[in-house]
Each structure stands twice: as C-alpha cells, then as structure tokens.
Amino acid sequence: MKLYEFEAKNILKENSIPVPLSIVTEKYEEGYQFFTSSKPVVLKAQVLTGGRGKAGGIKFANTEEEYRNFFQNLLALKIRNLPVKKILMEKKLNIKNEIYLGYGILRSEAKIIFMISKYGGMEIEELAQDKPDEVIKYPINILSGIEKEEVRKTIKKLGFDEKITDKITDIALSLYKIFTEYECEVAEINPLVITKENKVIAADARISIYDEAIHKHPEYKKEEDTYTPLEKKARRMGLGYVEMDGDIGVIGNGAGLNMATLDIIKFFGGNPANFLEVSGRTYHKAKEAIQIILLNPRVKVIFGNFFGCISRCDVIADGLVRAIKEGVVKVPMVVAMRGTGAEEGIKKLKDAGLEEIYEDDIDAGKRVIEILKEL
C-alpha cells in the first residue's frame, strides 16, 4: 500500500524527523491563507505515482498571481492518468545540499538494505544506474537490528561536519524504526535537505507498507487509485485481475499459469486483455470472473486455461457452465482443461454446448488466434 507524501510526512513528524511547515488541502482559500503567512511556498500534487516533477506536479509560488494559477492548474492536472485530489503546500526551503536516505528489502539475502547517497533528488533506481559508486548501501539482519555507530560511520563518508552528521544519523535511525514498525516495502527520504541555516529537513518522502501488514495500520488503508475502475471492482469481489490493452480475455487458475497464458497468447501473435486468476478461495467464481472480463469492451475472445490441482477442473467448469447457461458468455470462448477433475469438467462443458474444448493449452492457444482472425 503506497502512502501519499503527506501521509508519509505525518509518520516522519510523529517520529521526530523534521519536515517543512505545511498544510494539505484542496480548498483555494485555505491554501491562500497558508501562502500569505508562509510565502514563498511550494505546491505539490498528491498522487501515488513517480514522475511527478517531470509531469509539472511541483510548482514554486512567490507571488499571489503564481499561487492562483498554480493552485487551480494542479487540481486540474492528471499525472500518469491519475487525478490530483489534494495539494501539499510547504514553506520553501533554502537548499544547500540534497541527499538520498532510504531503506528497502534485499530480496536475495532476506535482509533489510540501508542506502544513502550525497546525490539526492533523483530516483534511486536512476541514481543506482548513473552513479552506482555514489550509492552507499549495506544489508541489515532484521534480528540484529541497526547499529548506531555503523550508520554514523557510513554517513560520515558523505563529508558533512559533525553536527550535520549527527542530525542525519538520528534521522536514519528514526527512519529505520518507521521501516520496521510499519512493515514497509520502501521508506525513503529523497531529498533530505541540508538548508543554508544548517537544518536537516525531509523535503520529500516515499513510504509503502506491505499489503499483508496494512491491517495493522488501518488509517492508511485505501483503495489505491492506481487501479482501473474494473480492477477495483474485481478486487472487491476477491478476484486478482489486471487490465491490459489487448483483445483476448484470459481466465485461469494459479498466478504462474496465468502469467504463462499471457506468454502463450503473445507466442501465437495475439494480445491479452487481462490477467485473471481464479484459485484458492475464488476458484468457484468462474462466472463472476467472466462477467468482469466482458465488462472490458475490447474483449473479442475468451481463453480459459485450467490445470486442476487443489482448484478442481470440475468445480471451475460448474462456474463456466453457469456463465454459459445464463447468457453471460457473449463472445467465443476456448477452454483448455487438464489435471484433477478435468474429465468431468470437460464433459460438463460439452453438455452445456461449448464446442472449443481442448486438453492442452498449445492447442487451445492456437485456436484462440484462429478464431480471432475469423471474426
């Protein structure tokens, strides 16, 4: 679960990490009052995606006219298709240096990774590519925790004086506490600004909490607006659905098999319209899944690819048969079925009048593309 910048900064503030004087608002008047008392200010569009600066989502306002223009323009802006609903307004900082500070997960070693660089402001992925030697990182065993002296030694390499080094060290330790307490995927301050007044202030922050831990922090739970309306609808029904831009609707059991089905479609020269997994708790929901798939008007053919394991093919077939009988399946459907319960499942589908049934996905995949060409 990604957090908005203002949410992330609330958490920083609660943990004694300095942040700029600010308000979050979508109201012009409220923003205006803040502007007059705190100018010059920066206005930042609150969206859950990167690339905000390049998309014009960050504006500095010195005059009343600038404030007026920027405020209205930002609220009308869409960044990577996401609408801007709130603006974070902050008092502008007198920047002397900008550094990067962050924690993530080192998947390959099952450790937390600490990262710092004196080149703040760029995205860490870009930074790691452009200046790999300028990103200092080391892994931390979660059971041992973070060592203050080790962190301080690392930060000292950036070359700031003792006082600034101490301040950055304290912030690094607090951010580690946040990272572990909130069970984050990422927690970073970028840039962490050293001002001309020698203050160290978090100018921007990105925090993402693992979905599996978000129930412990319900105040940050939200329906992410990075999902399309159809993805939201499917998620509410418990279906793992990802919308894509092709014309072949995909349904299958198991995440891996579903990904492979997308690959099979591409292999034969087609384009998938979605990823949709029915398994575990949802494998009896084939009918509902097909309803979701067909809400996407681009879908011309459905490819169902099933390998019966714990999710038995005959149970999946029951859902498909309901969809056929109730007239839900409004486009041609090709099904591949093998594994546990396949024989029974295939029989049920045949009895329901489905013609395009195969055992292997190699045959079904080929057929899907043929049918699409015949349409």
Binding site: I105, R107, S108, A110, K111, I112, E123, I124, E125, Q129, N141, I142, L143, T180, E183, E185, Y210, D211, E212, A213, T226, G240, V242, M244, N253, G254, A255, G256, L257, N258, M259, A260, L262, D263, I264, I265, K266, F267, P272, F275, E277, S279, G280, F307, G308, C309, I310, S311, R338, G339, T340, D360, D361, I362, G365
Partner: protein, 289 residues
Amino acid sequence: MSILINKNTRVLVSGMTGKEGTFHTKKMMDMGTNVVCGVTPGKGGTEHLGLPVYNSVKEALNKHEIDACGIFVPAKFAISACNEAIDAGIKLVVVITEGISPHDSLKFISNAKRHGVTLIGPNTPGLLTPQECKIGVLATEYIKKGNIGVISRSGTLTVEICYYLLKEGFGQSTVVGIGGDPVVGSTFRDIYKLFEDDDETEGIVIVGEIGGTMEEELAQYIKESKDKKPTVAFIAGQNAPPGKRLGHAGAIIEGGMGSASSKVNALEEAGVEVARVPWEVGKLMKGRL
C-alpha cells in the same frame, strides 16, 4: 536419490487439525509420506487422521524423532509456528502459508539461517519426491519418478511443466517450490546446488517469473560453475505490464528491476536454454539429455 526429502523423512505437520491442514495431510499420507504427528496449540492429547496431536513442537519432540515440519497455519500465526519448529531443532521447515507479512518472513528466515535450518517458502506449494514423500500441496498425478530436478516459484505452473515433461518421457527426482513471495528462505541458487550434488538428478528445470533478481543470481552461479548439468528454464510473465502485481506477491516489475527479459538474457548467457512457452521445456530438455 533425491534432495531434501525421501521415504525415510519423518514429518510433523503444524496446523494439521485445520481445514487445509487436514485435507493436505491426508493427501500426503495417501502418497506414502511418513507423517508422524501434528501440532495444534490447545488440541494436545487428541488424535487426528489416526495420528497423535501435540500442543507444541517441543512436546512432540519428546515422543518422536522428526526430520521435517510442514507449516499450514494461518498467516498471523506463521511466525510463531516457524520459530517454534526452528528453535526446537527441526532441520527442514516448509512454509505453505500464504499472505505472511514479509517482515515476519525476514525474522523467521534470519532465525532459520542462524540455526542452520533449511527453510522453504513461504507461499510455496512445497516439496515432492515421487513415490516417497510430499510436504505441501502439489498435485501428484503428473509428477512421476525420474531424473529431472524441478525448482519453481509457482504452484499450478509447476504441475503444468511436469505434465509437459512427462509427455517427453521425463519424471522428477524431486520437485521444489521455493515460493511466490518477495522474500523466501531458499533461493533458486540454494536449491540448484543441492540438485548439482544429487547423482540421480541428470537435468534441472527452472520455473521462474517476473520480480526480484533470484533468476539472475542463479545465472551468475551457473556461469561460474564447472560441471554443468543440462538446465532448461521458463520465465512466466514475459509480457507482464510493469508496476502491476500478477497474483503472487513477489511477481512485480518495479523501478526497471525484475523484468523477464533481464532474467532470460542472464540465463541464456550462462548457457541455460530458455523456453518461450511451457510445452517447450520438455522438448528442450529432450535435446539436452
């Protein structure tokens, strides 16, 4: 031979009396797995599926010798169940449970490493040595005795790959699901090494997917290893849109990392043949063996 588990492996099931635990323990026993007992706090002293149930792993170890533990408990109890098994001295822990917070996983995986315990998962379909032992949920009909070692991040797709291997006449020495989570206890490289040392395993199949860099790290290892066993891979999600999680918590391309093409390139550079679709895996292996 096989790796990790065989007919002599004595298995304890943590969470055996639950719905999932009951269903799969029964299937494991049907296949001939030597399940010795179960653990469910509060149900100690009872019997389930004809086996004794204990309140804790420690209690069970007072009565039995145990080589491996399968974890079937709900996500929120997983960390304590795993640590209990690790701390009690069981040397192989297989975590089937899905939906565990990766920070919990970091903790029990680190604990396992400290104790020299092999931890598989979480979010894994488990391990299977045909005709001998199964810890987990893999469907058995298409997994036959043979000489191919299979390592996979997924469940159903693993069985699909075994199905196509069988069509070319290949069975398996052992099938290892390493799990679909972002953080897992054993990586492709860890398990690959075990198959390298196993005399019965003549070829190795890797079933990877988008997300993370485990496949690239394996490729690096294979590149540097001297005696190469024929290896074939399939990477699922070659056409996955970036930034979207595809079913598995670990299957996501983020910040330019974890794409299928990076994995395919790395593996091919290491001399691994990479199938474009599942059915090519069997055919490619046939060409190598």
